[in-house]
């Protein structure tokens, strides 16, 4: 559904521009906790940034609007929290277990959802996510409303003590950068180009001999797996897995982050995630106004700001170059 952004840098197809921008981004993130930015805020924003990037892989490059991505974030969170707390697995294995669970769920949900297109696809993913939500409310191992609390952070690879906030932060940063680079690699691979072709004109791609369903399913599963990676990491960081992460409002939130940042751009979801998390932190004490503001941003983005933050920057860069 996304109009291709006019600048190659923001679309992630200009390798040099991408490398420069990524180097600046990572440099800023490495230094940020040392110049007074609260690391817990950064970790939360990074987890959501990875989540939004994974979502954008599906929406921005595959043209598929999933309204149920919270099921992958939440399921992975529950599984990794359970693995770390009850099974006593080390954090890297717990995160792996959560990611694997989200991947498995992604295969099933994806195979069902791609049977319909467009609006139906969105409604089906939403309904499937609601089913997972009710499952999590009732299943004994999730502890219902309480969630899985005080999950141990533990020692990563036996050496990295994650109870140290700064160590935890750099681990989260490494996971984010790894996921981000993987997504960049995917969208610039032959696979990514076919995916974009399907987004633009599915029938033509099929007539050229591409098995569109297989490409869409693979994109869906990749997106689910990376969303799971974000959710599993988030559960270890906050030592908590709760119903919030499987609720439909979380699915809406990731749509908003991507929309605000600029869908179909490589950096957009990162910008969107940081912006939304900052807004939520700021308005946390104002009750339901957060919901109203979130809704308001949705409306403004759709009506007047469809390129998003990074998309607008890209358009501005492209205009200047001319």
């Amino acid at each position: 559904m996304a109009a291709p952004p006019p600048s190659a840098v923001t679309a992630g197809s200009d390798a040099r521009g991408f490398a420069t921008a990524t180097a600046i981004l990572v440099g800023v993130l490495v230094l940020a906790p040392h110049v007074g930015v609260y690391p817990v805020f950064l970790m939360k924003a990074l987890c959501f940034a990875l989540f939004a990037c994974a979502f954008n892989l599906l929406l921005g490059f595959g043209g598929l609007l999933s309204f149920g991505h919270a099921m992958f974030l939440g399921t992975a969170g529950y599984v990794s929290a359970h693995a770390a707390k009850v099974w006593g697995l080390s954090p890297e294995l717990a995160i792996l277990a959560g990611t694997a669970a989200a991947t498995a769920l992604g295969i099933v949900a994806g195979a069902l959802a791609i049977r319909r297109q467009g609006i139906y696809f969105a409604m089906i993913t939403l309904a499937l996510a609601q089913m997972i939500f009710f499952f999590c409310v009732q299943a004994p191992f999730t502890h219902g409303e309480d969630g899985i609390q005080s999950v141990p952070r533990g020692l990563m690879f036996g050496v990295l003590d994650l109870s140290n906030t700064l160590v935890m932060y750099y681990v989260v940063l490494a996971i984010f950068v790894g996921g981000f680079l993987l997504i960049y690699r995917v969208i610039n691979s032959p696979f990514g180009n076919v995916l974009k072709a399907i987004r633009e004109n599915e029938l033509r791609a099929i007539s050229l001999g591409y098995d569109a369903e297989r490409y869409k399913l693979l994109a869906f599963v990749l997106s689910a797996a990376l969303s799971g990676l974000a959710g599993a990491t988030k559960a270890i960081v906050f030592q908590l897995a709760s119903l919030t992460d499987v609720h439909w409002s979380m699915s809406g939130e990731v749509v908003l982050m991507t929309l605000l940042g600029g869908m179909g751009t490589i950096f957009g979801p990162v910008a969107g995630a940081f912006a939304i998390i900052a807004i939520e932190n700021y308005f946390a004490g104002f009750g339901q106004w957060v919901t109203v503001i979130t809704g308001g941003i949705f409306v403004v983005c759709v009506l007047a700001f469809r390129r998003g933050i990074v998309g607008e920057i890209g358009a501005w860069l492209a205009r200047r170059r001319r």
Binding site: M1, A122, M123, I124, A127, G287, Q288, W289, F298, V299
Partner: protein, 295 residues
Amino acid sequence: MTEIFGVPTQALFGQLLIGLINGAFYAMMSLGLAVIFGLLNIINFTHGAQYMMGAFCAYFLLEYAGLGYWWSLLIAPVAVAATGIVIERLMLARLYKLDHLYGLLLTFGLALIFQGLFRNQFGSSGLPYQIPAELSGGMNLGFMFLPKYRAWVIVASLIVCLATWYAIERTKLGAYLRAATENRALVQAMGVNVPRMITLTYGFGVGLAALAGVMAAPIYQVNPLMGADLIIVVFAVVVIGGMGSILGAILTGFGLGVVEGLTKVFYPEASNTVIFVIMVIVLLIKPAGLFGKER
């Protein structure tokens, strides 16, 4: 006490009745969604919030204007439909040339705004709304006790649904509507004011949701979030039924309500999820939905 399949008949018929009531709301809501989708190509995510606003409108009318249930039944749908018409003119009308998914995102944002505003004002706990005096009490049918109000909801919603079916399938206005669904430009060329028809259609669908909200107010409490989870179930109902047929939407709505009610009797743990499970099965067997056509 008499039993059927090891379940007391009282409980069975009681749940069946609740199922029919829920089904009535599913039917009215999915009907509105289908009518809007047919002409506007937009899935109206605000539908749940508009159902909630219908219930609140009834509550306001009683609290501040002293107007009772019967007046609300008339005024609330018109009032909420008017807000819908404003939304359509100011916002949705700008999106028709874009991808349909933008309409979904816009209406989702609006739903968040409405639900947030009402929650700020009224909290999350429900406000009570009395059953009108004419419909309080009930009848003893011998095998079960039937509250009059519940019987009224089922009958009234059936009448509304069938009237909608008649208006769309059997009247001249409905013929215009169906024609515009098929080919908007051609109908406009024949001299029909299609943009106005689109606006009124949106208002009508929204009004249906608000009417369902008023009817729901005495059964469930009036609550800012009463439509939030309902809309997701209604989406599943729409996927199951397919949006191609009006009668199909009505039948699917009532049928799924009954199935849900029966699940509460025989396997209560699954009652929340049974509709989604049915959706999965339908997607596997007939992806277009029971009454739908691929398009």
